[in-house]
């Protein structure tokens, strides 16, 4: 089999990282150039792949499989279908943007860029892998640089505590998931870590309810912790508050989605019965994210903490989409994953810029920044608007789709109503509050001379992310058409014919609906 484009996408950053090891630390320009190139190329390739992706075709594309440890049924197996093609694209774009934003790093650049590239490679690998072992290992591989980056280049005075907490939390989450995955491998009896094979095998002979009920919670909470599912969220805001912008961009934007992707890719289709029984709980937990964390966000005095909390709150919508367990909801969840990836990256990049210039993110000290920082201000304003689900940005499409999906499940109506409240009101409140206090109002004397991002290189990352948000916001079908077929397959597996929440809602629609022209 020829080398898949995916292999290049995830290989180039890793190779570049190895290469950087041998570049002397004082060749700053070269190091930076290599890092940029090593993220730019994968981005271009990812876009190319996204365009070449055959829309509407069920199953994996750009596949490549190299046997690794036959005795355990492990193999290096990459490929994309509708569910992860968008994620890979998003990851590649965010990675490049993060590399661009890394100019804020002044000390130990070499180490930083190495870690950045490692993280990038790991992330892309995790999303591209179709082998459970690699799927997990790549994620773990990308996780560790995060800790180190926060620890070394982190900001606030609480950075050590933040590093400690994020490390412990994420490790626990990852290991829980690992145990779940191993148990899955063992109890499925398929003797393979290959996801497609596993799916086939289990579709043929499903897991026993007992083992499902043992494994599913492990995966749910393991992955949930990685995605800061309430009440395991407190690491997120803290960590992002302390993290250097590029790290926060990559983690909050992309790496965090791994858990959700894992739930959709592995947990739901392989353990349908357990999923059915757990989804109600998940739905209520996601309210914890949407409402509770939203309220917490309102109270934040520090811009980064606010953004961090809001990103945690947004995870709630994805969980809601997953919990609805129907085509619309899951598609919406994937949409939000992608949209929020861009958004989180954008907001953290901007706050990073502001921090770089002002040296503080205390909201009380900022104000009126729209005047001195025209470009940044406007971008931040738009980001905030996207954050409270404004149409035109990809987030809106995702969230609205999630709501429609969740509404289809009668038992989730209440949750949906509250979630809509969280999306429309709470989000609006803290976002507008932030805008009001950071961008609007009179400019303090000390900030009146701040330098705006003027040259192209400085503007590029922000523009890139903003444009991506807008493109997918205006033409969501670019994504949905790709997602829907595979999401449909996944949902069918997750809804064994016996009981089907989606079906209830459908049957409830009067049959004249079918006669209507859609």
């Amino acid at each position: 089999m020829t080398t898949s484009i995916l292999t290049y996408i995830l290989g180039i950053p890793l190779l570049a990282a190895v290469l950087l090891v041998f570049v002397p630390g004082n060749y700053r320009v070269i190091i930076r150039a290599i890092a940029l190139a090593a993220t730019l190329v994968p981005m271009v390739l990812a876009i190319k792949m996204f365009c070449q992706f055959v829309t509407g075709h069920v199953g994996y594309q750009f596949e490549q499989q190299i046997p690794w440890v036959e005795s355990l049924g492990m193999s290096y197996h990459v490929g994309v279908d509708g569910l992860n093609v968008g994620l890979v694209l998003m990851g590649a774009i965010v990675a490049f943007a993060a590399a661009c934003c890394s100019w804020e790093i002044q000390t130990r650049e070499k180490e930083f860029y190495i870690l950045l590239l490692v993280m990038t490679g790991g992330i892309l690998g995790a999303f591209a892998s179709l082998d459970l072992f690699f799927f997990y290992a790549f994620h773990e591989f990308a996780l560790v640089p995060t800790f180190i980056m926060i620890g070394v280049w982190g900001r606030s005075e609480r950075k050590n505590y933040a590093t400690f907490q994020i490390t412990i939390y994420l490790t626990i989450g990852a290991l829980l998931a690992l145990i779940g995955l191993i148990a899955l491998y063992i109890q499925s009896g398929a003797h393979t870590f290959d996801i497609p094979k596993l799916v086939e095998y289990i579709a043929a002979n499903p897991l026993a309810a007992k083992s499902q009920n043992f494994i599913f919670p492990l995966l749910l909470f393991g992955f949930g912790i990685l995605v800061s599912l309430w009440p395991f969220h407190s690491w997120a805001a803290l960590g992002y508050g302390a993290a250097p912008a590029p790290t926060a961009m990559l983690h909050a934007g992309v790496l965090k989605k791994f858990g959700l992707y894992g739930l959709i890719r592995v947990a739901l289709p392989l353990m349908p019965q357990a999923a059915q029984s757990w989804m109600q709980i998940l739905a209520w937990l996601c309210l914890g994210n949407i409402l509770y964390v939203g309220w917490v966000a309102m109270k934040q005095k520090n811009l980064n903490l606010l953004i961090g909390n809001s990103s945690v709150a947004h995870m709630g919508f994805i969980f809601l989409g997953i919990a609805s367990l129907n085509l619309i909801g899951v598609t919406g969840a994937v949409l939000v994953m992608i949209a929020h990836g861009f958004l989180a990256a954008l907001t953290f990049a901007l706050s990073g810029y502001i921090y770089q210039k002002t040296g503080t993110l205390q909201i009380s000290e900022l104000g009126g920044l729209c005047r001195p920082l025209r470009f940044i201000g406007v971008t931040l304003l738009m980001a905030a608007m996207a954050g409270c689900g404004l149409p035109g940005f990809a987030n809106f499409v995702g969230e609205v789709t999630v709501f429609f999906g969740a509404w289809q499940v009668p038992s989730l109506r209440v949750v949906t109503v509250l979630a809509v409240w969280g999306a429309l009101i709470i989000g609006a409140v803290y976002m507008t509050r932030a805008v009001r206090n950071v961008l609007h109002g009179p400019v303090p004397e000390k900030w009146s001379k701040l330098a705006d991002a003027t040259d192209v290189w400085r503007k590029l990352p922000y523009a890139l992310l903003l444009v991506s948000l807008l493109v997918f916001g205006f033409v969501p079908s670019l994504l949905t058409d790709k997602i829907v077929p595979d999401a449909k397959k996944m949902v069918q597996m997750a809804n064994p014919v016996s009981d089907k929440p989606g079906a209830v809602a459908v049957s409830e629609i009067p049959n004249l609906k079918s006669a209507l022209p859609n």
């Binding site: 005795s71 355990l72 773990e140 290991l175 829980l176 148990a183 063992i186």
Partner: protein
């Protein structure tokens, strides 16, 4: 009987003697070369053991069954030789800190190695006892070799007393086992063991033997000596202790449990589960507040004994092979760590974590080595530690169906790993971002030690990224218990 099976052992013995004699006519400034010579010789033996030529790589038994040459034995012999080679590299670097008798130090290492080689093939309680004592007694000397330093002596004495205590327990155990069954040979014992399962004296004896072995691998509740001895002993000794002696303990443990008294072992599932769980927790928890590097690694070695016991507790072929695989990774990781410590603390009298401050400026190679070692111990892909832990967990979870206790064990191991992240990252932090960097003088590395370090790094990555070969070897070795 064919003594040709013992080629390796005999060669090693000879080497040891030669080294000892070499002390007479080697001028002091040439002593280094003795060490390198030993390395070269052992490398040769290693190559032979792999090449398959010579009797040392074919199966069979000698001394009417006391000494077996099977997959397990060969696996461990290679393992021990590699360990000895790497330790010798370190010892050469360390030699300037030894008052006198450098080449004795080398030779003692080599003698200890021979003891380990015998242990690898021991298939009889007599052989087991002799091999263990050969190892232990040499280690008494190796531990207290820096006669100038009180800590070294203290460590020596502590090791001596507790070691002797444990061996007396073992001997008594052997006596009881032999007295009840009349068998010393493992295979013969296995044949009759079933009918003695109920005899308390027999079980007494077996347990006493396990006490002795548990002491070697520093498993709870016999772990108490490890931190002090690790801290006090000269660094190369500590490294060899952590790898060689522990591995020797494990190979004998495996032999006793799975060859000599398999039927009894089957009943001790819970005992093993509990022991490995507590060992893991004890090691990791005590390591948390630890500031002294070697002591830290001492505690972490206890924790790792616990992880390795997962493989034993699993009572399954996959568990045993996972154990072997994990040991292999552990070899490179730990020796890498100790090599770095040995080089960093050359001019310091204390080996506190703070000694690593600013290492990344002093010597990037060492800094990255230490980082990788810690990462591998913590179990981070793509390093050896990760795949090893993965296999162990897998082995344990496989048994979950048999006994839910295994799930608890898995979660305990998980907790242990999480805790360990904390202190391993503490070490990494000390390297990269400690506040007060006192000494930034670059560390000069001799060529050979660079080689050694690179071998360790290569080993960590090799086992992490291309596990197939090693895994097959481990599976091959574990087949011994299949029959």
């Amino acid at each position: 009987m064919n003594a040709s099976l013992m080629t390796l052992e005999i060669c090693v013995m000879a080497l040891g003697t030669v080294l000892m004699l070499a002390d007479f006519w080697l001028p002091d400034e040439r002593k280094k070369f003795a060490g390198y010579a030993a390395v070269a010789a052992l490398t040769g033996l290693l190559v032979i053991s792999f090449s398959g030529c010579g009797a040392c790589s074919l199966g069979g038994s000698a001394f009417n069954g006391m000494f077996v040459q099977d997959g397990l034995a060969i696996f461990f012999k290679r393992f021990f030789i590699v360990a000895a080679i790497l330790v010798l590299f370190m010892a050469v670097e360390f030699s300037d800190r030894i008052a006198g008798g450098v080449s004795e130090y080398y030779s003692l290492i080599v003698f200890a190695l021979s003891g380990m080689l015998f242990a690898a093939s021991a298939n009889d309680f007599t052989m087991l006892f002799v091999a263990i004592e050969l190892i232990t007694i040499t280690f008494y000397i190796l531990t207290s070799f820096q006669r100038g330093r009180l800590v070294s002596l203290e460590a020596g004495v502590k090791y001596l007393i507790l070691g002797a205590l444990s061996s007396s327990f073992m001997v008594f155990g052997i006596a009881l086992v032999w007295g009840t069954t009349g068998k010393l040979n493992f295979n013969e014992l296995a044949a009759v063991a079933a009918q003695f399962e109920t005899s308390k004296i027999f079980l007494f004896g077996v347990l006493f033997i396990l006490v002795g072995l548990g002491f070697k691998i520093a498993a709870f509740p016999f772990q108490i000596w490890a931190p002090d001895v690790y801290q006090g002993a000269p660094t190369p000794t500590t490294a060899f202790l952590a790898v060689g002696s522990k591995a020797a303990g494990f190979v004998l443990l495996l032999r006793v449990l799975f060859t000599a008294v398999p039927t009894v072992t089957a009943h001790w599932m819970n005992l093993l589960i509990v022991i490995s769980a507590i060992t893991i927790l004890y090691g990791n928890l005590c390591a948390l507040p630890q500031r002294n590097l070697k002591r830290l690694l001492g505690y972490s070695s206890i924790a790792h004994a616990g992880y390795l016991l997962l493989g034993v507790a699993a009572l399954s072929a996959s568990g045993q092979s996972a154990l072997l695989y994990y040991l292999a990774g552990y070899l490179f990781t730990v020796i890498a760590a100790f090599t770095v410590i040995c080089l960093v603390t050359r001019h310091l009298d204390n080996d506190d974590v703070s000694a690593l401050a600013g290492l990344n400026q002093r010597s990037p190679l060492l800094a990255s080595t230490m980082t990788l070692a810690m990462a591998s111990l913590a179990g981070i892909p793509p390093l050896a530690g990760f795949f090893g832990k993965f296999l162990l967990l897998k082995a344990v979870l496989e048994q979950g169906a048999v006994n839910p206790g295994y799930y608890c064990l898995a979660f305990t191991a998980l907790a242990g790993v999480v805790i360990s992240f904390y202190y391993y990252f503490g070490v990494i932090r000390a390297i990269y971002w400690s506040k007060n960097v006192v000494d930034v003088s670059p560390i000069q590395l001799s060529g050979p030690i660079k080689v050694a370090v690179c071998i360790c790094i290569a080993g960590m990555f090799w086992l992490g990224i291309f596990p197939t070969t090693a895994l097959d070897m481990a599976n091959e070795a574990a087949k011994v218990f299949g029959k």
